[in-house]
């Protein structure tokens, strides 16, 4: 039987991709961010999951508003890299796991989550900006991407995202191969990218969110989108995707690492949480 070993919540941002591609990891302004990922990268390497489920949002690189899915699941064996408007980044395509993904699709629909099933899903910075900070290439495990609409309102509620995580956990536990699965939720934290409030960040709220995510996530599921946008800026509503990651873990978790740094436009948060029903993450 497959099991979830733990999860990671992380911001994503084009600026992280830019800093990586320009080799700014040792630059004074970026070093704290890149160093912050070190312990999580080490944990992931040690834990060596067989598969990683990643919850993220597409920034109109695979999907457009002609038909924008509220929930989309990539079921292919390969996920290509997107051209976001300035050329594809120089990374190998992600490997998928069609067999697991179709199982996940069946289980989610049985549990009343109905994703758009995508045999082709090009991947943008929602995943690719932080993936090279979490692991080296060649990518160590197949990745199963789940894209959530957090851009065009109405977007799913925080509670719905949390329940999606619970449904993913259920699906993993129903899978008959002995896979060890990690789950990653990306997005946020506080940021607003338009209007006079451009550049808004809220370090206090971001850390309150990280506290509650670990010990009392239910508290975060009752907040409305306007609550999130008021506290963290309009574009920070994507923090609800961290709740999907958290919903897939055990009620109590072991914190492996936590980091926060807010240099320019976005509160960059990072947290890694191990499931308490996993005694040794590497077995």
């Amino acid at each position: 039987m497959a099991k979830i070993i733990g999860g990671i919540g992380t911001s994503h941002a084009p600026s992280i991709a830019h800093a990586y591609d320009k080799n700014l990891g040792q630059d004074e302004a970026w070093k704290p961010l890149f160093d912050g990922y070190g312990p999580v990268k080490d944990w992931l390497k040690e834990a060596a999951p067989d598969l990683i489920v990643m919850i993220y949002n597409d920034h109109m690189n695979r999907f457009f508003f002609d038909a924008y899915p509220t929930l989309a699941l990539g079921v292919g064996e390969v996920h290509e890299i997107a051209d976001e408007g300035w050329g594809k980044r120089n990374f190998p395509a992600l490997k998928g796991d069609a067999e697991f993904s179709w199982h996940l699709a069946r289980s989610l629909v049985a549990d009343e989550f109905d994703p758009t099933i995508c045999q082709e899903i090009t991947i943008d910075h929602g995943i690719l900006s932080i993936l090279p900070l979490l692991c080296d290439t060649p990518w160590p495990a197949p990745i199963v991407p789940i894209a959530v609409n957090v851009i065009q309102h109405p977007v799913p509620t925080a509670r719905r995202c949390y329940k999606l995580g619970q449904a993913i956990r259920h699906a993993v536990e129903l899978y008959d191969r002995d896979l060890r699965v990690a789950i990653v939720g990306t997005g946020g934290m506080s940021h607003q990218l338009h209007g006079k409030r451009f550049g808004f960040m809220n370090e206090e709220w971001d850390n309150e969110f990280l506290d509650a995510l670990e010990t009392n996530p239910e508290k975060l599921t009752v907040l409305s989108h306007d609550d999130y946008m008021e506290r963290g800026g309009a574009e920070s509503v994507e923090m609800i995707m961290w709740l999907t990651m958290r919903g897939a873990l055990t009620d109590k978790v072991n914190r492996i690492h936590r980091h926060y740094y807010a240099p320019y436009l976005t509160g960059f948060g990072l947290i890694a949480l191990g499931c308490t029903d996993i005694t040794d993450p590497s077995t």
Binding site: P32, F64, F65, L193, F198, A234, Y264, L265
Partner: protein, 126 residues
């Protein structure tokens, strides 16, 4: 307030915030579709070669074209342009997100960057 209104974003009139609602997406559809086309490198070349002709091919209105020509990011987003798609227009034209943001705040890039915590970490180059 009904659960319906509480749980669909954009009802609280947050200051200086233009939530990307269905209403805005509907109004900005043509504009966003034009900008989405710039994920293709050939289209980026065509747009840079002749902005007006490229926008005409995408049936943009005179008002929409004028906002793009003026690089008026604030107006484009208020109108219904989605910021994640407008950055594709900006990127094609060599404008960064930081420059867009400074303009939307009514500041120069230098003024805006001085407000950023990370600016303190970056040694000033004379």
């Amino acid at each position: 307030m009904s659960r319906y209104l509480v749980e669909s974003g954009g009802n609280r009139n947050l200051p200086d915030t233009f939530v990307f609602t269905g209403e805005r997406s509907r109004k900005g559809y043509r504009l966003n579709k034009f900008a989405m086309s710039l994920t293709n490198p050939d289209n980026r070349d065509a747009f840079r070669a002749n902005e007006g002709a490229y926008m005409d091919r995408h049936h943009l209105s005179e008002a929409e074209k004028a906002m793009v020509t003026a690089r008026d990011w604030d107006a484009l987003i208020r109108y219904g342009g989605n910021v994640y798609i407008m950055v594709k227009v900006a990127g094609t034209l060599g404008v960064t997100l930081l420059q867009m943001g400074a303009q939307m705040r009514g500041q120069s890039l230098e003024e805006f960057m001085a407000t950023r915590p990370g600016a303190a970490a970056r040694p000033r180059k004379e």
